[in-house]
Subunit: 238 residues, 2 copies
């Protein structure tokens, strides 16, 4: 059962690993990699991407068009094209921006927690928080999974690599919690990640599609039961 | 927490209740409601709907167009229009066909099982089986939830009513399992339905989007753990 979650190829740009190793020490702050002074062209590009991400969250990545974006920005279509060579390039850049924000909101701050259950709990709590905020707009990882489940090409590949990288990060975290004795020795780490993911998909589904209140509480309760099932008893020697 | 899963209004056509009560007696077969002899027009309409359902499963309900359908059927667009007044009518009919098939494959046969845990297990097993078959094509309930999460109108309303009706059917089944003592008295039935739904969403996500083998086994293992958590011990008096 352990041959499925193949680690993502190291050459990809979407690994959830501590590239900024400094962040793994507790108490450190996130390094802001944005240079203080951007040239005008870079500022415009960043502003376009920001609006494009909003549009893609609402209408899906496939709903994103240069025309719509130009309208929203009060720019000409050729003005937008000057910053992104093609619609596909734009879609890929939007995806990368989404990924960076996910990393910065969910992954990096959680890495400051102690390795093991504390870090896993932090990851899940921040993930829930992010999805809750996204109820109004939509999560690109989740809606993209349906949009691109049957649509081959570079966007699907990038999206799959990102979601796999996030699942791998969760898996490593569960494995560390087993290694340090926070979770029982026999815990099936991949099963646990599968169930955590399912709880989040349920939250997105029930809250965004069915508009059901209380979904966040259910996602939390499900995780607590999961942990309870696999947590080591304080005196357990296994 | 129990005010959320409001039962679907009885006036809707999408209730998962035993309208065909005869099916609730064990051993009975599904009644084929299709009359033996259909007029030519009805046969053509049924054939169009069949192809439309395939297209909608693959490309989503929004990807379904009269033009594409006419092409596939070797018919003129006006020929297709003669059977369905508008694209939206066609989409709604496709949705209803999908719902009938879901009922006939998942719901009705499970109702033949003894009320309680046996019936719940049958529902889940048939649901998993259906979603597994749909990995190649896509489940309209699940992909529709993303397609219509933010797109108001009659299709969204119908889809929400259908998914809510299926969740209500599962909820009733869990409640009966509690009443008859198969599941512990304190079981939170809505939480259980939430988690069952999440496991199925995870299966669709991992198998269809990530193309991961072993997802069916994970969905089953998750359900077994869920049941184990809430199943009454044989001698339990609570």
């Amino acid at each position: 059962m352990f041959d499925i979650f193949r680690p993502v190829d190291n050459s990809t740009s979407v690994q959830f690993i501590s590239r900024r190793r400094i962040l793994t020490s507790p108490g450190e702050h996130i390094i802001n990699t944005t240079p203080k002074f951007l040239r005008k062209g870079e500022l415009t590009r960043a502003a376009i991407l920001d609006v494009a991400l909003d549009l893609a969250s609402r209408d899906g990545l496939e709903g994103l068009t240069i025309g719509l974006l130009a309208d929203k920005m009060n720019m000409s279509k050729s003005g937008v094209f000057a910053h992104f060579g093609s619609r596909e390039d734009l879609q890929l850049e939007v995806l990368k921006l989404y990924h960076r924000r996910f990393e910065e909101e969910v992954f990096f701050p959680s890495m400051k927690e102690t390795r093991g259950l504390a870090r896993l709990k932090a990851m899940y709590a921040r993930w829930i928080k992010r999805v809750s905020v996204e109820i109004a707009s939509g999560c690109i990882y989740i809606s993209g999974a349906v949009e691109y489940d049957d649509r081959p090409g570079p966007i699907r590949e990038e999206l799959v690599a990102m979601v796999r990288a996030w699942q791998s990060a969760l898996l490593r975290c569960v494995q560390q919690a087993i290694e340090c004795g926070d979770l029982k020795a026999g815990t099936d780490a991949q099963q646990m990640v599968y169930e955590m993911y399912g709880l989040i998909l349920g939250l997105h589904h029930d809250a965004r599609f069915l508009r059901m209140p209380g979904s966040v509480e259910r996602a939390r309760a499900g995780f607590e039961r999961l942990i309870m099932n696999y947590q080591s008893a304080p005196q357990e020697s296994a």
